[in-house]
Symmetry: C2
Subunit: 213 residues, 2 copies
């Protein structure tokens, strides 16, 4: 092993890097960033086997990126604090800027729909012609949402289309920036003649939008 005088310091810095070095952990962080969850909910939402989820959570906890709260037989995890959440947003932004392969992978999953940025949405919130649709499960909606948004999970969208005014300009969003649900919703709405667009970055992107209302 190499060693130089500053190694113990960089060893510590590398702990953060290591925590962010696995796709599974990054996925878990993104899911947790939206709201607190139990290990099982988390494993479910992230699509990762339970045991693996638990093991990775230990590492994230050791790196002080998440904290657990025990309530009865369950442990609720969440991102340790706002600083972690901001840093994750920073990481996503950075990687998106620098890695063309990341942009390709995103496009492969979400399609190349033109989205609305959080800043644009903020500016349009006052406009009554804009209708904001939250397609996440109602639990997520309840934990926080864009002001004025209506909760309309994708599963119910088809049957509840009549709740949306025909001539509205719709902005649909889901949870993380890589969530495909709002893209599906927008496609469905488009087929029914609506003017609908996704919100870039999803709800997380909204929460971390650059300064100003």
């Amino acid at each position: 092993m190499s060693d130089f005088p500053e190694e113990p310091i960089y060893e510590q810095l590398a702990r953060v890097g290591k925590a962010l070095a696995s796709p599974v952990r990054l996925r878990l962080l993104d899911v947790l960033d939206q709201r607190e969850r139990t290990v099982e909910e988390l494993a479910q939402a992230a699509g990762v086997p339970l045991k693996n989820t638990s093991a990775q959570l230990q590492q994230l906890r050791a790196a002080h990126l998440v904290t657990g709260r025990k309530e009865g037989a369950r442990v609720y995890y969440r991102v340790a604090d706002e600083r972690v959440s901001r840093f994750l947003a920073e990481l996503r932004g950075f990687a998106h800027d620098r890695l063309a392969d990341l942009r390709d992978a995103v496009r492969a999953r979400l399609g190349s729909l033109e989205g609305v940025t959080a800043g644009e949405l903020a500016a349009r919130l006052a406009d009554p012609g804009t209708v904001v649709v939250d397609v996440r499960p109602v639990t997520d909606f309840a934990a926080g949402h864009v002001p004025g948004a209506i909760s309309l999970p994708l599963a119910e969208l088809r049957e509840r289309l009549d709740e949306l005014p025909r001539q509205a300009r719709i902005v649909a969003y889901c949870g993380g920036p890589y969530c495909a649900v709002s893209s599906q919703a927008v496609r469905l709405l488009g087929e029914h003649g609506y003017d609908a667009r996704t919100l870039d970055g999803g709800y997380l992107g909204w929460r971390h939008r650059p300064a100003g209302e």
Copy 2:
């Protein structure tokens, strides 16, 4: 291997994390962040064996964090762009906030001298009673320095003490935030009766100081 639908995306994100997961690579990045260097200079400055340096540079290049420029028989590496540099600063700040062990490791290496922040220094630059001393090698000084600083490498400090006015309030800095040279300089100056302090974060910290001159 786990897999969930967004895996290819998180795989890409993890490339950045992986690049930052090794103490050696982080050290190289910090050294490169100060100025462009050849592989050998870099290995020398970082205290890492040459072959290992070269191998790690390949990885950093694959992650688009550094770029190389070939000039004759030599390759000059540098941090890819300002965005990378800012992100590294962000990482250091984040880790420093969250990991007590990191703060301990820094204290173990640098001692617990009270430093001056970059913001404080900026505010004091106009004050003629403050003398800023750059203790890095002259090559580094030439590549960029705090305005008004005088170049006085540690090796020459003892003999050139008379260049410093007795009653000056001295601020000494070196390169990275974990460089011990300025701490030594401050200790030496203290023994000779000077009022001397280090600059927190070194020259890198200065370059990334929060907005405002």
